[in-house]
Symmetry: C2
Subunit: 273 residues, 2 copies
């Protein structure tokens, strides 16, 4: 039995889609969530810079005493997962591999679209992982630079977001993909819009529930689960505006968020793993 919390991080509120699935699967565990709102979005940054941010945050969470870290951010996973796993003493899980496997399983015509940030597309990680699951699958990637700021903005469900989604969807529809990977943890937050734009014949894949299952299996394998009879709690940290984070969390995840603690970027920089 291990009473330490699980650490989950993202550039902003997108990782809450992963936290939600973790709360469904592991209601008896405690969670510490860190959103790096001050440096959002990660997507347009060079991979080396995102790698540095990820190592800082994971190092900070490790000093907070977490027993496992989930990189609930596709850009950070693409840029830094092997480095995080090599550097930290606790297990680190990312969000790309379960999604790549799910996409390879879901496609019928073996044409898979990828919506992701510029950084994730540039990394080529999805092509590699989907290819490892089925080398015959063709991946059509589209970088979506505008979407994360729109989703974290004032009018996430307005006409501008719908127009941005249509623009991104057009080349994927033209390519005849039957499956689209939502390769950023922010995108499931606008799933109804995505469903309406892509229609019934396209399968949307995202991995939050599979990631949660992987967390549960890892805890069990390592023997570091908490008491299954207790009720877990969650704690929120952000480098950005706590009020903005609270309203995002409540709106998107239907989670009474409570107190959100602010962390200085300088504290993260000092904690680099």
């Amino acid at each position: 039995m291990d009473a330490r919390p699980i650490g989950v991080f993202d550039s902003g509120a997108g990782g809450l889609t992963v936290l939600h699935e973790c709360l469904v699967t592991l209601p008896h565990e405690d969670f510490t969530y860190l959103g790096d709102g001050a440096r959002l979005p990660y997507g347009p940054r060079p991979l080396a810079e995102i790698r540095r941010f990820a190592l800082e945050i994971a190092g900070y969470l490790e000093r907070q005493g977490v027993k496992l870290v989930v990189a609930a951010c596709n850009s950070a996973t693409a840029a830094a997962l092997p480095d995080l796993q090599r550097t930290l003493s606790v297990p680190v899980l990312g969000v790309i591999q379960p999604e790549a496997r799910a996409a390879a399983r879901a496609t019928r015509n073996r044409r898979v679209g990828l919506m992701a940030t510029e950084a994730t597309v540039a990394s080529g990680r999805y092509e590699a992982m989907i290819g490892a699951a089925d080398a015959g699958v063709e991946v059509v990637p589209v970088a979506c630079p505008g979407l994360v700021p729109l989703i974290e903005g004032d009018d996430p469900f307005g006409e501008a977001t719908v127009a941005a989604v249509r623009e991104v969807a057009a080349p994927l529809k033209a390519a005849g993909v039957d499956t689209v990977v939502l390769g950023c943890t922010h995108y499931p937050l606008i799933r109804p819009i995505l469903q309406r734009v892509f229609g019934r014949d396209v399968t949307l894949v995202f991995s939050a529930d599979e990631t949660a299952r992987e967390v549960a299996e890892t805890l069990a394998r390592k023997g570091i689960e908490n008491d299954p009879g207790r009720e877990g709690s969650y704690r929120f940290l952000t480098t950005g505006d706590p009020d903005a984070f609270r309203s995002m969390g409540s709106r998107f995840l239907q989670l009474p968020i409570g107190t959100v603690e602010q962390v200085a970027v300088a504290d993260l920089e000092r904690a680099a793993a």
Copy 2:
């Protein structure tokens, strides 16, 4: 080819969960949605009164020239579906039968919980429909009088809603059900809360996508589909506050709602089918 719109109605915003699935399945059709906000909630009312309301609204929609009516409200379906079908000249679909079939298919231990309004529980329609699909399934019904007003209220994702869901879930968990029917179109609007309270081992069933499929099949069978190459539109009517409806719709369904027209209850009363 038939350019008339499809009518969808509910006591409030719950039926938007059905409208969303219709927009995914039938993007080329036009829709007229009517929410009876002035008389919400329906659940605590006698079945005869709900039946009268449903006949008024369906009659009003028929005069607006719709080609099919969806009673996107479980209480109205429970109280009035046969009367609506007998009275209207256009096809009328409800939301209970697809859900009952789905629940009978989903359960492994043949113990199914039902969350619904008092009116829907009192009608006994779910027991009858689930029994018709599998007479060996035991149904455990729980009336949830507080939930619709909380979901349509100012703080739908706050502690009060979480507490109300826990209270409703307790007897269902104690009864050992492995499947729970969300027997009110409002309940999917708080699905993340329901998922966290019930956990991974309970299957939550609601029928919006199956209802949308039934709409599509009915249009095809009757030969009253619109041109598949066009882009459909939607129009919103409410007997309640248009601004409140607009903010609910945007929040829950990520739909830019635009203009919401107000309809007087007296106009509905005059239109009774």
